[in-house]
């Protein structure tokens, strides 16, 4: 993305700083290191070291209270041969398949509406962003009440039009849709804020020029808005996908993985393995499997972005 950005008439940019003598360069490196330290220290302590710890744990059998026992790759072999692992990944994919389109379409729709709003945009933006910064436990409990099959508001409203609402999170067929609904509602604001910023960065002149040239609103949207919004879209999709793979809080609070295991997503399975079944080793191995899958999916996305993301 650097080579293609040649602007022939632009004056050559002055070098950020003249290449000085060796001592000065060392000083510069030292300053950079100092500025990086505040984030490097927590990153090492709270992310890299625990990650290494979990890799080590994944090679052991450990119930948290007995000393660890070396298990080699047994945990990985067992997980790969266990149908519950497959089921957990299946449930996670089901979640993603519902959550991603919903949160993207909803967030994009809101961003388009707010982009046209003449007044109150900031207030509305704050209102829609509120759920994003609200604790998941609060949001999950609220949705659990709203979707309560016994006296919840949603089923009461459905009852008003003479229909009978489903069992929501007590019914294995409706449990995952319930979780998806709550998740999309909460994250809508995040997608909206990013896309709205992207929309507002598109110069008005482009649309005006297109209109002068006789483009319809749809053509303008298709050929100007969408391509110029693609960096924001890419960012939102990568982040939402990673978050979606790690879905846990809402599942744990709303269904605990039930009913009949219908919402046992990968991270819920990791939690159960550690804290219910005393198998921290197997749980760590599953965490690493999930990490590798997220890494591969993200790398594929970063490669694929060259085809569709427009940084012009």
């Amino acid at each position: 993305m650097t080579a293609t950005r040649t602007a022939p008439k632009a004056p050559p940019r002055p070098a950020a700083r003249a290449v000085g003598p060796r001592r000065s360069r060392l000083r510069y490196a030292g300053t950079v290191a100092l500025f990086l330290l505040p984030s490097a220290i927590p990153l090492t302590l709270f992310t890299l070291v625990p990650m290494a710890g979990s890799l080590w744990t994944s090679l052991h059998e450990w119930n948290l209270i007995t000393p660890m026992r070396w298990a080699g790759l047994d945990n990985y072999a067992e997980l790969l041969g266990d149908e519950r692992t497959l089921a957990a990944f299946g449930h996670t994919l089901y979640f993603l398949a519902g959550y991603l389109p919903l949160v993207y379409a909803g967030g994009f729709g809101l961003a388009l509406l707010l982009n046209r709003a003449r007044r109150g945009r900031n207030v509305l933006r704050a209102v829609y962003f509120l759920p994003v910064v609200t604790s998941w436990v609060v949001v999950a409990l609220m949705w659990k009440w709203l979707l309560n099959p016994a006296g919840g508001v949603v089923n009461w409203l459905i009852g008003l039009v003479g229909l009978e609402g489903p069992g929501w999170w007590t019914d294995p067929n409706w449990a995952m849709p319930s979780v998806i609904l709550a998740s999309a509602w909460k994250d809508l604001g995040f997608v909206m804020v990013i896309l709205l910023a992207g929309l507002q960065a598109i110069p008005r002149e482009y649309h005006e020029a297109a209109r002068v040239d006789g483009a319809t609103a749809l053509q303008s949207f298709r050929h100007i808005t969408l391509p110029l919004l693609s960096p924001s879209t890419f960012f939102v999709i990568v982040i939402s996908l990673i978050n979606g793979f790690q879905v846990f809080d809402q599942v744990h609070v709303m269904t605990g993985g039930g009913p009949a295991g219908a919402t046992t997503v990968v991270v819920e399975q990791i939690y159960d393995l550690t804290f219910r079944y005393g198998r921290a080793g197997a749980a760590s191995a599953l965490s690493w499997l999930l990490f590798v899958i997220i890494l591969i999916v993200t790398l594929v996305q970063i490669r694929a972005q060259r085809r569709w993301v427009n940084y012009a």
Partner: protein, 423 residues
């Protein structure tokens, strides 16, 4: 300018580093002025018996002015998660409560202090104050790793006011499933939100009902399941058929915490299978209620739960931990406080103390049922992968209860899963 920036960055780093080291999980249990702070972690005190525990703590601290007991509580559902993590994180409480099902795991893991060794030098200690079999239950490899603290059983609670209003005779010790079922059907009035019966559809009720129906959960060598037969079908059907008939469904319960407790307390539940730890909470229920030994089928069988106090192997205060464990489990104050508050039963050998349990005027009247239920008990099957077994059984039973599977299919699937856990 640059120098100030650097200095500021260095300062920030230093602050961060100190913050990190302060945030580490180590906790100092030694207090100033020579007092020893002793932590005690419990699941059975909150919410109904915190004040009773405080009474015992106050009496102990009066006798042992150099020890300050700090109580920490957690609900049963979270208790073992917290305990495990604190042991793994080296912040284990000095003393903590354990139930019998978990005792072996912790004892064999080496997490518990050998109380026998900690007791040396305590001349006042007499093992004979404990009921002998209770004390023996908490030994492992010949060592006393915990002291029995309490035991409790599950009985049939019934709302006498509802029975009287319907003109039905109250349950008796001779009842079988057939009588319970007939009464439950007559007492259920869904329009008024009144249910005839409540028995959770889960592992703990199933192994007991299985025993009542004359079946066994595991084969005698413990290597395979044995419940997938006529007795198992009968027991599972007994539990499952109540749901949606004389008992609310999962959707009707809607995940409400302590739904059954609230239902009974509001006078809208005629019969309720639950433990004697509910006595205190139901004391001020605004209607007549009593208990009776659970109805059986082929035979009677009641569930018994047994709790003990253990000390952490890593405690810095073994002598103080011993003194507190002993006081909490066998002192006169502790035993009488438990009896007076109906806080389960103390596992003491002195029958005079236990007799106090019957002498009280507090509800329920038929406290004799608690002792009668001990005459024929059903012990839970215990295997290495206990929680997985319990979860598998509960999940298949709820599948049958919700009509997602037939009882036979659910039992076959549960047996296959549990055989896999045993193999």
């Amino acid at each position: 300018m640059r120098r100030t920036t650097k200095a500021a960055a260095a300062l920030l780093t230093a602050v961060l580093a100190t913050a990190c080291s302060q945030g580490s999980a180590t906790r100092d249990t030694g207090a100033e002025n020579g007092k020893v702070t002793l932590r005690y972690f419990t699941f059975s005190a909150a919410p109904d018996h915190v004040a009773d525990l405080d009474t015992i703590v106050a009496a102990f601290e009066k006798e042992n002015p150099a020890i300050d007991v700090v109580v920490e509580t957690a609900p049963f559902a979270d208790y073992f998660t917290k305990l495990q993590t604190s042991i793994a994180g080296n912040t284990a409480p000095d003393t903590f409560e354990l139930n019998y099902e978990n005792f072996v795991t912790y004892a064999s893991a080496g997490s518990l202090l050998d109380l026998g060794a900690a007791a040396t030098g305590d001349d006042g200690y007499q093992p004979s104050v404990y009921a002998a079999e209770s004390l023996k239950a908490f030994t492992h490899a010949g060592k006393q790793y915990a002291l029995p603290a309490s035991f409790s059983t599950v009985v049939l609670f019934y709302n006498k006011t509802l029975f009287d209003a319907a003109g039905l005779p109250a349950p008796t010790a001779d009842w079988t499933w057939a009588e319970e079922k007939a009464a439950a059907a007559k007492l259920t009035d869904k329009d008024k939100g009144v249910y005839g019966d409540f028995q959770p559809v889960q592992f703990f009720e199933f192994y007991k009902a299985l025993k009542q129906a004359g079946g066994e959960f595991l084969t005698t060598d413990g290597k395979k399941t044995a419940f997938n037969g006529p007795a198992g079908v009968k027991a599972a059907t007994w539990l499952v058929d109540k749901v949606g008939d004389t008992m609310p469904t999962e959707a009707e319960i809607g995940g409400t915490a302590d739904y059954d407790t609230k239902l009974f307390k509001s006078g809208k539940l005629a019969m309720w299978h639950n433990g004697i730890w509910q006595f205190a909470g139901m004391a001020d229920a605004p209607f007549e209620w009593d208990v009776v030994v659970e109805p059986g089928d082929q035979s009677k069988a009641s569930a018994v739960f047994h709790n003990a106090i253990a000390a952490s192997a890593t405690t810095k205060h073994p002598a103080e931990a011993w003194a507190w464990s002993r006081f909490l489990t066998s002192s006169q104050v502790a035993a009488t406080t438990r009896i007076k508050a109906s806080w389960e039963l103390p596992p003491v050998s002195d029958q005079a103390i236990l007799a106090g349990y019957l002498d009280t005027t507090a509800k329920p009247a038929n406290r004799q049922a608690v002792f009668d239920s001990l005459k024929s008990i059903a012990l839970p099957p215990v295997i290495a992968r206990q929680q997985e077994m319990q979860d598998a059984m509960t999940e298949e039973l709820s599948n049958a209860a919700a009509g997602r599977k037939t009882v036979r299919q659910a039992l076959t699937d549960a047996a296959a899963t549990i055989d896999g856990l045993l193999g």
